[in-house]
């Protein structure tokens, strides 16, 4: 079968489908009446624009949309402000100052030569001073020197 015949079948098929559907189309007025009833049931935010009561539904919808958008922006700004406040309070300003004070104190003590090793106390063994032997040379020499001086004087 050629493309032209196939295309003819497509066109005819759709035309037949259209005829069938059109014959079963529900009544427009009945459908609009149902839609109007449903629209009346939907609660609407009534906004009087420019003092004119009974503004067109399109205008009311527009105002409602703008109010929703404004509300969204206000909530966003509030949330951002609250988050910023929390960050500042729990934050870092206090912790930073404390850290800087510690660093300054450490630097000052290190520069003054007060730093000692954490293991320095291990070198302080009790009795370590007893390990050194006293010498007598110094004492004898000192005695000789004083004796001869006395002899010379006498």
């Amino acid at each position: 079968m050629s493309h032209e015949n196939d295309d003819r079948r497509i066109v005819d098929g759709f035309a037949e489908l259209r005829r069938q559907t059109e014959s079963r189309t529900p009544d427009f007025d009945a459908m609009m009446a149902k839609a109007r009833t449903a629209a009346a049931d939907v609660p609407q935010l009534t906004v009087v624009v420019g003092g004119e009561e009974g503004a067109a539904p399109a205008v009311r919808g527009d105002v409602r949309r703008r109010l929703t958008q404004a509300g969204g922006w206000v909530s966003l700004a509030t949330a951002a402000a609250a988050a910023g406040l929390l960050l500042v309070q729990s934050g870092g300003a206090g912790a930073d100052a404390e850290f800087e004070a510690l660093v300054a104190a450490y630097s000052a003590s290190a520069s003054a030569g007060a730093w000692t090793s954490p293991t320095a106390s291990l070198l302080d063994v009790p009795g370590l001073d007893l390990g050194s032997v006293p010498t007598f040379d110094g004492v004898l020499n000192a005695g000789d020197r004083s004796g001869s001086a006395e002899g010379r004087e006498s």
Binding site: R24, T25, M31, A39, V42, P57, V59, G61, D62
Partner: protein, 180 residues
């Protein structure tokens, strides 16, 4: 006359003029389920008269209205699918494949319209949509692209592929009818 009343009367007149075509498009968007199409069309009218959907004049009125119907049908079917899935979980049953029936499922003997409808249900959504808009609604491919919110190039590709598949499907069905 009150301008808002005049506006709504004018709007209703335009909706009435396109009512039959709108119902056809709603059927098409709902997989030719007429009960669903009626619900979708009524919700669309509700959106229009309550101002939730507003025509801004940037496109033809029919193109805009068909776009609203398409969106409404998608919302409706998504919600319906969600309800069905919940009830499936509740009753622990497997879902039936009602969205894409086999080409022969709804085939009525000797009816070309039924053949077309059944064949369309096997095509991907975009291909089905562009063919229905062009052949059923007699739109140009550009108008169909506007309703579908795709570029004209994309719509043309969907149209060519869809038409080729539909041609093949109808041809094979006519052959199988011929042999039986």
């Amino acid at each position: 006359m009150d301008p808002s009343r005049h506006h709504s009367e004018e709007l209703e007149a335009r909706l009435a003029e396109l009512h039959s075509a709108s119902f056809g498009w709603a059927c098409s968007c709902c997989g030719w389920n007429e009960a669903d199409a009626e619900d979708v069309l009524q919700t669309t009218y509700l959106k229009v008269i309550s101002g939730r959907a507003r025509y801004d004049g940037r496109s033809a009125f029919r193109t805009w209205l068909f776009g609203v119907i398409r969106h409404t049908a998608r919302e409706f079917l998504r919600s319906k699918r969600s309800h069905r899935e919940k009830s499936m979980i509740l009753f622990a049953q497997q879902p039936d494949d009602v969205e894409h029936p086999e080409p022969t499922a709804s085939l009525e003997a000797g009816e070309l319209a039924a053949e077309v409808k059944a064949s369309l249900s096997t095509l991907p959504d975009r291909q089905r949509e562009v063919l229905e808009l062009v052949f059923y609604q007699e739109m140009t491919i550009r108008e169909a692209a506007d309703v579908m919110e795709v570029s004209i190039g994309s719509a043309r590709v969907h149209y060519d592929r869809g038409k080729k598949k539909l041609r093949a499907l109808l041809s094979s069905e006519s052959k199988s009818e011929g042999t039986t």
